[in-house]
């Protein structure tokens, strides 16, 4: 049964609709990531779950109970803020114990709980310090400690890693995942970083302009995007989105893609929904890893080989990204570093068309078979 449920949630600020009819749910122990560009309403959604923002319509239910009218402190939640929000006039121990102090927990018990959490997070030596005396990473840890010490049923994270440098961000990401695995507490996590979303989530909700674009597991979101926005937003480097003409060609339609310097390339369509698009345009979506060099022993099943003019070669260590132009767009292919591709040459690339997805250029919706 769903532990956290958000049903037809709607939020207005005066005439501005910030959230429009959001439906989401996450099972107990799940890790829900709300992801989207800035201004998409993801933080507002988190704040309504916390009770820091009211809702205009709809319901927030935690463990079957509607909490719309409960104040934040009664929802059995803990929150980690983007700025960490550590109380500047209190030391670390007082910061962590403040919630318990407000609930009237005796001092000895408070101290024991703080010490225990401090030990798991390895911040025992910082307990007497003020937030101003801590580094960014230490503040981040203390903020998590303050949330942990409450022992809540639901953790809320509001872009907790966005103020850290790249290396620390990756370390803390792993730590949060480890913490989630060992505690098993339900987490709702807001980020604009799609890699964080992919690595942490058991479920991802992609938002744009206050509308839920897609809700699913990371694998579903990545491989089976519901629309052009999700396809473009998730994945790094992003999915190649190539305009293609659909033409009737025997029993099933095929695609024609403009190529720089030679005649258009033909690719099989392979999706039944494209029948309705014959004579019109579609947008072919294909991830960089589905375009590779042609192996020495010939292209794999489901691949189509197209000669492409290589414009730029970007070695990234484990992979070499190769950039070419198709349909007037830059197209990135992921090749192995030892295939010896060089800029300026024309080279056959294998397109895994069984991995391709198609979108309507007008509505941006997915075309399915």
């Amino acid at each position: 049964m769903a532990f956290l449920e958000i049903a037809r949630l709607h939020k207005d600020y005066g005439p501005v609709e910030v959230l429009r009819d959001i439906d989401l749910s996450i099972e107990e122990g799940g890790f829900l990531v709300l992801v989207g560009p800035s201004g998409c309403g993801k933080s507002t959604l988190l704040y309504t779950i916390a009770g820091l923002e009211s809702v205009t319509r709809g319901e927030v239910r935690i463990d079957g109970r509607t909490v719309n009218d409960l104040p934040p402190s009664k929802r059995d939640i803990a929150m980690v803020f983007q700025s960490y929000a550590l109380y500047p006039s209190m030391n670390v121990a007082e910061n962590m114990g403040f919630g318990m102090e407000m609930r009237g927990v005796p001092k000895a018990e408070r101290r024991r709980a703080v010490a225990e959490v401090a030990k798991t997070l390895q911040i025992e030596h910082l307990l007497e310090r003020r937030p101003a005396q801590l580094s960014g990473g230490q503040r981040q840890r203390v903020a998590m400690g303050r949330a942990l010490v409450r022992n809540p049923r639901l953790f809320l994270f509001d872009e907790p890693l966005s103020n850290l440098d790249a290396k620390l961000r990756i370390e803390m990401r792993t730590e949060i995942k480890r913490l989630h695995q060992s505690l098993g507490t339900t987490i709702v996590y807001v980020t604009h970083d799609q890699i964080e979303a992919m690595t942490l989530a058991t479920r991802i909700a992609v938002l744009k302009d206050g509308v839920l674009q897609q809700f699913g597991t990371p694998a579903e979101i990545y491989a089976d995007p519901a629309n052009l926005f999700v396809a473009d937003f998730m994945g790094s480097p992003p999915m190649n989105l190539i305009p293609a003409a659909v033409r009737a060609d025997g029993p099933s339609p095929s695609l024609l893609v403009e190529r720089a310097g030679s005649e258009p390339a033909a690719l099989p369509a392979g999706v039944k929904g494209l029948d309705a698009y014959v004579g019109r345009e579609t947008i072919l979506g294909i991830r960089p890893e589905a375009i590779t060099e042609v192996p020495a022993d010939g292209a794999a099943n489901g691949s189509t080989v197209v000669d492409c003019r290589i414009e730029v070669v970007e070695p990234a260590g484990a992979d070499t990204y190769v950039i070419t132009h198709l349909g007037g767009r830059e197209v990135v292919a992921r090749t192995s570093p030892d295939c010896g591709v060089r800029a300026g040459e024309t080279r056959p690339l294998a397109f895994r068309m069984d991995k391709a997805v198609f979108f309507d250029p007008a509505t941006h919706d997915r075309i399915r078979g």
């Binding site: 704040y47 402190s73 929150m79 929000a85 109380y87 500047p88 919630g99 303050r146």
Partner: protein, 297 residues
């Protein structure tokens, strides 16, 4: 440019810099002397016997040093018709200043907290109205204030003066705290809400402990304004609530006997001394507060 020419150029530049600097210091010195001269005159003449002043030279150092004028101004000089010195009025002022400063500072802090962290419809309009209070001249409010005090049965009392100064100071104190709290992270308030702290608890435990610098600024501002006020004091006080500024005026303009200039000077310094002390003492805290803010991340 040759090396020698360059050397001369550098030399000239250094010399011009030095000259400019000397000119600046000389100018500053002139201003300082000009500004400090009245204080010098007051101090020097407050420790002279009266006939030494009458004999002429106001700028001369005392030949016969005496603290009698100070003692007289403090406790025996004729104020109006009573030979009480300034001391009872000093206490009147203290009884007025302390509550007026404490109440107006706290209310200003509370206003600033509400106007920035508990926003409501029309809050900017309300703040605008409060700001307007900063631009109202004292004279305009005298008559309506007098009738309000009469209506509240507070006319001529210290409590009445406290009310007047709190009302008049609220615009400024609200402005100070609103601007300070505007930069105070709202996420801290949200975090405290999740931790279960209520409206006043958040104010006392989260905001006020971080408000040191702005409290000092507000207290200095309010203390000097209320302490130095003459118009409200002379308009709304009675004999037993009369503040020191009014008493000083009565001391100086007292028409019986000779003009005791040395006593007048001593009295004027006594009346000004507390504001000076406040500047010296809290000025240090003020700077310290700014430094603490500078290293806060």
């Amino acid at each position: 440019m040759s090396a020698a020419a360059q050397d001369t150029a550098v030399h000239t530049a250094v010399r011009t810099g030095r000259l400019a600097r000397a000119a600046i210091y000389a100018g500053l010195l002139v201003f300082a002397v000009y500004y400090l001269l009245p204080l010098y005159v007051m101090v020097v003449n407050s420790v002279k016997p009266l006939d030494e002043i009458r004999s002429g030279d106001m700028l001369a150092l005392p030949r016969a040093f005496t603290i009698a004028p100070w003692l007289s101004a403090w406790s025996t000089a004729q104020i109006g018709v009573e030979p009480t010195g300034l001391v009872p009025y000093f206490w009147n002022t203290i009884r007025m200043v302390v509550p007026a400063v404490v109440i107006s500072t706290l209310m200003g802090a509370l206003n600033g907290y509400v106007l920035t962290k508990w926003r409501f419809r029309g809050d900017t309009v309300l703040f605008g109205c409060l700001l307007f209070a900063c631009f109202i001249p004292f004279q305009i409010v005298l008559i309506p204030m007098a009738s309000v005090l009469g209506f509240l049965n507070l006319a001529g009392t210290t409590a009445g003066l406290v009310l007047v100064h709190v009302v008049y100071g609220l615009g400024f104190t609200t402005l100070f705290f609103r601007n300070y709290y505007d930069a105070f992270p709202t996420e801290l308030v949200k975090a405290a809400q999740i931790d279960g702290a209520g409206f006043f608890r958040i104010f006392w435990r989260i905001l006020l402990p971080s408000s040191g610098p702005i409290i000092v600024v507000t207290v200095i501002w309010q203390f000097t304004n209320v302490w130095n006020d003459f118009l409200f004091g002379v308009s709304f006080s009675d004999y037993d609530s009369m503040p020191m500024t009014v008493a000083l005026n009565n001391l100086v303009s007292s028409s019986t006997g000779v003009k005791e200039y040395n006593v007048h000077f001593a009295g004027a310094i006594l009346a000004a001394l507390p504001t000076l002390v406040v500047y010296v003492v809290s000025g240090r805290y003020f700077v310290r507060g700014l430094m603490a803010g500078a290293v806060k991340g």
